[in-house]
């Protein structure tokens, strides 16, 4: 393991001169947060039930093989010992009024199955063997590998999720699109199953977009917005920490509470009073010499559980405003990072300008104002404890218009 004595990333500085509009997406860590600040999750009273398509994944991947691979993809998340999340295949996709069972392979059948998912009836995994469903849906079948996400929730929990896999990338044919490897395809869907389970993207080692060394690659989360390397098929410390935070294992010898603690604080503008939301905060483990470990970090976005202004500001339908996130002023710049017990430094950076819209990290995308301070002094986290008050004040941000803008 290589340790690097480093400074916080200066990302965002070059964008400081741009007048970027607020962009809309949702939170790093949990995908959605309730109005009381508690993340949406599935119930863990029983394993999350899912149903698989009763047809082949592609011309060369049988239903039985696909079923086994899907179980393996869910198994990656289920294998986290500090998390209680579990999944169970409940059988083939259920027949509905307009779908009589078998292979889901027409737009009408998909519509029926999606309706069922939206009504909280079943969580289907659909194999689009020839991409005819993607094409009917007007989705570019030559580039999209798969789609997934929760499709129904009640006031407190997710109820159902959906995933669709594009078999063209696994059909052994060079046209219309060349295959990607089994590992690449599965890595993509493991990422999607993270969304299926309620996780959002994480930005760690973003320098890898421009090329990076092996330590940085190792630290790339599966939930990083880009799959750059097959190593992302395996969960990173960040993925493990967050799935465990959302679904903590509370029984047995290895629990979330006896392995992980929390680093908490608030990001402020330069005045040290106004909360700064949507700044990426990264906790990196350090050794006794305060040398950073690039392979094992955990991140969150400040204000991750605060309600983002995600509705269309000049919306045709003013009811289309998000019901997600708390309105507690103290949550606006708050960060809470679940980490394995140990010693850490905390650093902040801007969310990368390219992580916009669907690839977004955090409730909205705006460049971080001002400049990041140097990483914090060493913070010691004990299992089951919270090391709070690790506030970060940005350097050189614009002043407030008046004192009433403070939280």
């Amino acid at each position: 393991m290589r340790f690097v004595r480093g400074m916080a990333s200066a990302l965002g500085v070059s964008l400081g001169a741009l007048l970027l509009p607020v962009n809309l997406a949702h939170a790093g860590g949990p995908l959605l947060v309730r109005d009381n600040g508690v993340p949406y999750v599935f119930s863990t009273a029983a394993p999350i039930p899912y149903r698989t398509d009763n047809g082949p994944l592609s011309a060369t991947v049988t239903e039985a093989t696909a079923r086994s691979r899907v179980a393996g993809m869910f198994g990656v998340w289920e294998g986290v010992t500090t998390s209680s999340i579990a999944y169970a295949r409940a059988g083939f996709v259920n027949a509905t009024v307009a779908f009589t069972g078998g292979d889901v392979n027409t737009p009408d059948e998909f519509d029926a199955v999606q309706t069922d998912c939206g009504n909280g009836v079943q969580s289907p995994i659909v194999y689009d063997a020839d991409a005819s469903i993607f094409m009917a849906l007007g989705i570019d079948e030559t580039s999209v590998i798969g789609i997934a996400g929760p499709c129904a929730a009640n006031a407190t929990q997710f109820i159902t999720s959906l995933a669709v896999m594009n078999g063209l990338f696994q059909d052994g044919a060079a046209a219309p699109v060349p295959d990607i490897s089994t590992d690449e395809f599965d890595a993509a869907l493991i990422h999607e199953f993270g969304h299926f389970s309620g996780l959002d993207h994480s930005q760690i080692n973003v320098n890898c977009l421009g090329g990076c060394g092996p330590d940085d690659l190792t630290g790339l989360p599966t939930m990083f917005p880009v799959l750059l390397h097959v190593s992302q098929k395996s969960l990173s410390v960040d993925d493990i920490a967050w799935i465990s935070r959302l679904y903590p294992q509370t029984t047995g010898g290895t629990t979330f509470a006896n392995t992980h603690g929390t680093i908490a604080g608030t990001v402020f503008f330069s005045d040290g009073q106004s909360h700064a939301a949507y700044v990426n905060v990264i906790a990196r483990p350090v050794d006794t010499g305060a040398n950073q470990d690039r392979t094992a970090a955990v991140s969150v976005v400040s204000g991750y559980k605060f309600r983002a202004i995600r509705g269309n500001p000049i919306n045709d339908n003013p009811t289309q405003f998000p019901p997600f996130g708390s309105l507690t002023p103290g949550d606006m710049g708050l960060f809470e990072i679940p980490v394995p017990a140990g010693s850490y430094t905390v650093e902040v950076e801007s969310i990368d300008a390219g992580f916009s819209d669907g690839s977004g990290v955090g409730p909205v995308q705006i460049p971080m104002p001002g400049t990041a301070p140097a990483p914090s002094a060493t913070i010691v986290v004990v299992a089951g404890g919270t090391n709070s008050g690790n506030d970060v004040t940005l350097i050189g941000t614009d002043p407030r218009f008046d004192q009433f803008e403070g939280p």
Binding site: D140, G146, M223
Partner: protein
Amino acid sequence: MKRLLLLLLTLAFAGPAWAERGALSLSRNIDQLTSRSAVILRGTVLSAHVEKHPVLTGLDTVVVRMRVRETLKGRPGATYTFRQYIWDIRDRFDAAGYRKGQDYLLMMIAPSDYGLSSPAGLAQGRFRILRDRTGKELAVNGHANLRLFDGVSAQLAKEGISLSPKSSKLLASHHVGLVDLRELTDLVRELAQRNP
């Protein structure tokens, strides 16, 4: 070390796969995006609202109406309306991020039999248009323009096609991040001529 680097290269994705709101797509370069698009336009969002599909009534869609300022491929007319399927629960609340008044360069695939369409490569074919403090217009897609120009020069050379010096310079110099909108649209026009 050499062996390690070789291993890393072996394990790297041929083209990185980008996560979008509940989707993963392979990187496509500007030539591939241009070829895949039926309509390429620069315009402003006049309206965007979420509604159920009229036929596939279980599906949520966002209907976006654009004022067309510039046409680079196809014949979208003065206003262009498209209906995009949305599956992510969050898209229902923010019209998939399309906001009235926002300028975009959109590279749209042809509508399906059900009237559904979306940008080529999803976020890859959807460029937000921004202005810096000097008023210069810049464009960035949902993949930070990463690898947007990779392989284009080689492909064109193979076909014996040469681009204008300005476009050639753009292809050679850009790696990631914002790109001058005018240079991008000039390049797209040249590429679109190969596959009108």
